[in-house]
Symmetry: C3
Subunit: 249 residues, 3 copies
């Protein structure tokens, strides 16, 4: 794996996004995450997964400069893969805890929203679905998951404004569940993961599916169209102009 | 237009309900609102719309005394038009800000609920879905929009009690987003509208549809039946008796 | 009736679960509750119903020791009856107020969630959907009703943790609407029931159905499968082992 560090400590697996400096998501990151999650799904020793990032970013979101070189078709295919990963983790049979170590922006925030619990560091780090600020829309998965977590009103507030939220504000909005100092983040995430791991895994999975399948079905009905619309807007003149100014290194 | 004042200042259009003294909604008001919103939808200069009222009412809701002279059929046809207007504004392609200048009652509250953002004056004005207090039900659009904004629990509280809420309480319940003094209302609404107008309009519209289309589809499945039931209850003896006591001038 | 006390005072009926010591739900309790609610549904004098329990429990939930002697088939049939009762009360045409006099656990909490309003005593009593703690899943009705009341985020928190909540915490989460001292519980419940009873009953019923039918349809689509899965997990070795340790007398 080039951009993913995986470690397993007793029954808890930790997946670290490690693509310096901002853990931007490209095609390889998505493939490696998918592979990694799939491997852990069938590993009987693994009872819970922690998803976190290396450095000052959880994830910046999509690697915009890299995708600007993609053709429309290739980018569409990539987005299908990315949103499949989102839905896959949203319905992941084991508990997944997001340890949001740093900024979780756009696609990075979406990744965090797939998890069962989000703990975010209290210093500096910001979380945001800021797509609208660079002229981009989002996916059906993003709006449905967001509405599931924060309700319709906060979902509109978050998506229409595209603001960057510190941990405490994000918690008030329902974007994250817990805010903690950076030095205690990993320990806190492990504690939550361990609590999950101690539960009966069949009962956990069944309850998770009961809650999330209705959301997943709504996503499924709308995701392809949302990708096609996303691509149209992404390649529009105005949006391309803004995207070309985005630097990630 | 008899009951609607329309003005456009740079990219912001303002629609003022102006049917003294309480901006009660009759057939002409609905037709003029529809026409006005449709015209603004295709005006490329208009980037956002403010909806407000003249006087001490945003809107009293339906013009009960006038509708008491309607036949069942005519009233049913009117309600189809009114709920179509609600759904049309709920899915309006441009941002709509409700500047709730005064009381927003029943159908008047529903109008406000279609918007993207609600700012309400802090003095005296009350907002309410008080249909139950005069023996009336509501529409599928009202319950679905309300649940979208405030969740199931507050939706039941608001509809079962039919209470009149001052701005601060309405904000706590999620019925409005912001409360401000009357003298600053319009300026605040313009600021919000301007923030919306500055966003990429395709991205905005796409995000709005992703969030609201699932709600609109649920409304669509149920609206006709809800109108038929509304009419049955409206023309029941007990409800007619209460309605006949309602005065609006 | 063996386990149900029914009294009617003017227009308010009160149903008391009375199966010492913990009001555990067995097949007879479900049958008597169904019969009782059905009888009150067609009694024109009854305008609202209060559901409460005798002793220090509202209800412990299912009578685990009794059901351990059931065959899989019989238990499946019982669960179909129990979830039908939940859906029946959730769509009950008259207002139902839960006066949560004591612990409301698992199936007991689900019963409370079907009502239109929940008042809970402030002392000692706890409310919980703690199925996961004894290796059990829940039903589609439980997840859908819970999400309706508390949103997706709190629903996951409540179900994943299986914690026991005192009244004030339950209110913060949205599990109950009001917390009151034990001595004032019944009077408060009567007041709420009376407020409901004073409303136009057709309008009330229509509004309730508009809000809840979409939830009921989602439940209906998933309930049978959720029961089958519930049974599989219930009869798994690990879960049976825990269940066998549960004592209720």
């Amino acid at each position: 794996m080039s951009f993913i560090l995986l470690s397993i400590d007793e029954t808890i697996a930790t997946i670290v996004l490690n693509r310096p400096k901002v853990n931007a998501i490209n095609e390889t990151v998505v493939e490696e995450l998918s592979e990694c999650f799939q491997k852990l799904a069938i590993d009987p020793n693994v009872k819970a997964v922690i998803l976190t990032g290396e450095g000052s970013f959880f994830s910046f979101g999509l690697d915009v400069p890299e995708f600007l070189s993609y053709s429309k078709d290739c980018f569409t295919r990539f987005l299908a893969k990315f949103t499949e990963l989102l839905s896959y983790i949203f319905l992941y049979p084991k508990p997944v805890v997001a340890a949001i170590n740093g900024h979780a922006i756009a696609g990075g925030c979406m990744l965090a929203l797939t998890c069962d619990y989000r703990i975010m560091v209290s210093e500096k780090a910001k979380i945001s679905l800021n797509e609208i600020t660079f002229g981009s829309t989002v996916f059906a998965s993003a709006t449905s998951m967001l509405r599931f977590w924060v309700g319709g009103r906060n979902a509109e507030l978050i998506l229409y404004r595209g603001e960057m939220y510190l941990g405490d504000d994000a918690k008030m909005l329902g974007l994250v569940d817990e805010v903690i100092s950076k030095e205690n983040l990993y320990e806190a995430a492990r504690k939550v993961a361990q609590d999950f791991a101690n539960k009966d895994s069949n009962a956990f999975q069944s309850i998770k599916m009961l809650l999330r399948k209705p959301v997943a079905e709504e996503i499924n009905k709308r995701e392809i169209n949302s990708i096609l619309e996303f691509v149209e807007i992404w390649y529009s003149e105005g949006t391309q102009e803004i995207l070309e100014k985005i630097k990630i290194y």
